[in-house]
């Protein structure tokens, strides 16, 4: 029967089984579609035999083998044993939660279980973010080098120091970025983001749009585009909480104005989930409250320093920072080495004030990050509100 292979290739050369379209395939897989009636089965298309094959495969095998009774008995015994041991009341791990609605609301992570830890897009959020951040950093450098002027899109700019108390300088993760001048200018930004309202609202609006895009894509069975995913991952604080984030957003869009509210929600949720699942492992910066700030800040430092035009609103700056943090994979940045610790410290120090804004900001970042120019959220640089925190 070796001919078979040949025959097969001959066949396919002559004629591709093109009649099996995706839709038809989906119906077959689903069992919901119209299965060919016997008469139709003789039709000249290649779907009918395939349908028969699938039907046969789905048919529960007849008869039970000798051992099957014993096996079932063993399973039942295990069931009883577990029942008696009280195991049945055990806590739910992430992989045990298959309840859709609840899963999304409560334990969003469960949707994308373990191994991959992929974004719906199939890319690891960290990897994607790392790339984006690196790209942004490069852009910034190039621009800075070329112009000597900070023509960096506001989104990119991390007004270095942000809070006055914080040491801006060390952040120079991106080595080549001439942090000096910029940072100088930046300090001004130390001012509190009075502008809050604006950028944030803008950010929220942007995130709503993102969520819509995301949901549209999901609904249509497509993979949402990377930009959207990256931004949403930022906003949600975690790639696994994206859908939950969007749901929340949909539920109370107006929340935007209130930075804290937004933040709190995002943060705790993600976190608690994580904790539940005992999954802290991710490098992911948990919700700000925890020690997490470090990564975020660090990154922020890196991105921000060089470029940050003094004037920009802090909010922006931070946002970015967080983005970076997540992407943190980008070892390159760290290695560059301005003392990593320093930035962290800074971060933490300032963390408190930021905390509030953090999620929101990150949202902003996300946006900024992807297409610095375009992002709807771009907070106007002008707002340069001073962060009250400081």
């Amino acid at each position: 029967m070796t001919d078979n292979r040949e025959a097969e290739s001959r066949e396919s050369a002559r004629r591709r089984p093109g009649r099996l379209g995706r839709r038809r395939a989906e119906e077959l897989l689903d069992g919901s579609g119209s299965w060919p009636r016997p008469e139709a089965a003789e039709g000249a298309d290649d779907v009918a035999p395939l349908a028969r094959l699938l039907a046969a495969a789905a048919e529960p095998p007849a008869g039970s083998t000798a051992g099957s009774e014993a096996r079932q008995e063993k399973a039942l015994a295990a069931f009883r044993a577990a029942r008696e041991a009280g195991d049945h009341a055990e806590t739910v791990r992430r992989q045990d939660d298959w309840s859709r609605r609840r899963a999304d609301a409560k334990a969003p992570k469960s949707r994308w279980p373990q191994p991959g830890r992929l974004l719906p897009g199939g890319r690891s959020a960290r990897a994607v973010l790392g790339t984006v951040v690196a790209a942004m950093a490069l852009c910034g450098v190039a621009v800075a080098a070329g112009t000597g002027v900070l023509s960096v899109p506001p989104g990119l700019v991390v007004p270095g120091a942000g809070a006055p108390g914080l040491p801006t300088a060390p952040t120079g993760i991106v080595t080549s970025v001439p942090s000096g001048p910029y940072s100088h200018s930046t300090p001004g930004s130390g001012g509190a983001p009075t502008a809050d309202g604006d950028p944030r609202e803008a950010a929220t609006r942007g995130s709503e749009a993102l969520c819509r895009a995301y949901e549209r894509a999901e609904g249509a069975g497509h993979v949402p585009d990377v930009d959207t995913l990256v931004r949403l991952a930022h906003l949600a604080g975690d790639d696994e909480t994206v859908s939950a984030y969007c749901e929340r957003l949909g539920a109370k869009p107006s929340e935007a104005g209130n930075p804290k509210a937004g933040k709190d929600e995002a943060g705790p949720d993600g976190k608690s989930e994580r904790d539940q699942a005992g999954e802290t492992e991710n490098g992911k910066p948990g919700p700000e409250d925890s020690g997490t700030p470090a990564p975020q800040n660090t990154t922020r430092g890196s991105t921000g320093n060089g470029q940050g035009p003094g004037g920009n609103g802090q909010g922006t700056g931070r946002g970015q920072g967080s983005g970076g943090g997540q992407g943190a994979d980008g070892t390159g940045q760290d290695s560059d080495g301005a003392e990593p610790d320093e930035p962290d410290d800074t971060g933490s120090g300032s963390a408190t004030p930021d905390e509030t804004g953090a999620p929101d900001d990150s949202g902003t970042d996300g946006n900024d990050g992807s297409d610095s120019g375009t992002s709807p959220d771009e907070p106007d640089p002008s707002p340069s509100g001073t962060p009250p925190a400081s």
Partner: protein
């Protein structure tokens, strides 16, 4: 014939869902029902992964299912996915333990023999047994085989199958689609072969190459 293979239209998989709930409250009869309902499906799936050791592997999986059923959250549909995930992990463990086992090649060989041994006495495809059908599917490249088996045999929907596999739904959809196309091609080839043989003795319209082309 495929009547029971699917969850009910509303997707709730009602009977199973109720049984799951009862089993979670300690109802052994309900658990036995779940076992009888799902075991053949898990077996079909796992067989595609590990071949003849499937019985043992699935038995292991059931021990775990029995132990952890209290942790499960979800409906009957989710339960299929949950059990499939457990079975898959056990199967992969098994494969790791004996990492050198050749799988597909053997099966494929068997499969290619099928038509000749059958078409004398039967109408080949019309009477494909479940075992033969499963073997055909199992002989696909593994990602395709798994996707098809999870959808068709275990009865998962696309997203659930993707979750079991830890992949994007789109990737799984594509894999299953490719798998079906490949199967269709193989079936065509087989039919082509057996069809020419049958033409002389059968009155049924021969599926000739011309016709197909």
């Amino acid at each position: 014939m495929q009547g029971d293979r699917r969850r009910s239209p509303d997707g709730s998989d009602g009977g199973i869902g109720a049984a799951v709930e009862r089993a979670q409250h300690g109802d052994e009869a309900a658990f036995a029902l779940l076992y009888r309902t799902l075991h053949p499906r898990l077996l079909g799936y796992v067989h595609g992964l590990v071949g003849d050791d499937a019985e043992d592997v699935v038995a292991e999986a059931w021990l775990e299912i029995a132990r952890d059923i209290g942790r499960f959250r979800g409906d009957g549909k989710g339960f299929r996915g949950w059990t499939a995930t457990i079975a898959r992990h056990r199967a992969l463990d098994h494969l790791r333990r004996q990492s050198s086992r050749p799988r597909a090649t053997l099966l494929e060989q068997d499969l290619l023999e099928l038509p000749s041994s059958h078409d004398t006495e039967s109408q080949a495809l019309e009477t494909l047994s479940t075992e033969e059908a499963l073997a055909l599917v199992a002989a696909l490249p593994r990602d395709q085989a798994e996707a098809v088996l999870l959808r068709v045999v275990v009865g998962l929907d696309g997203p659930d199958a993707a979750r079991v596999l830890g992949k994007r739904p789109g990737a799984v959809r594509t894999a299953s689609y490719r798998g079906l196309k490949r199967l269709a091609r193989q079936l065509l080839a087989r039919n082509g072969v057996s069809g020419t043989g049958r033409a002389a003795v059968t009155s049924s319209p021969p599926r000739t190459l011309e016709e197909l082309g």
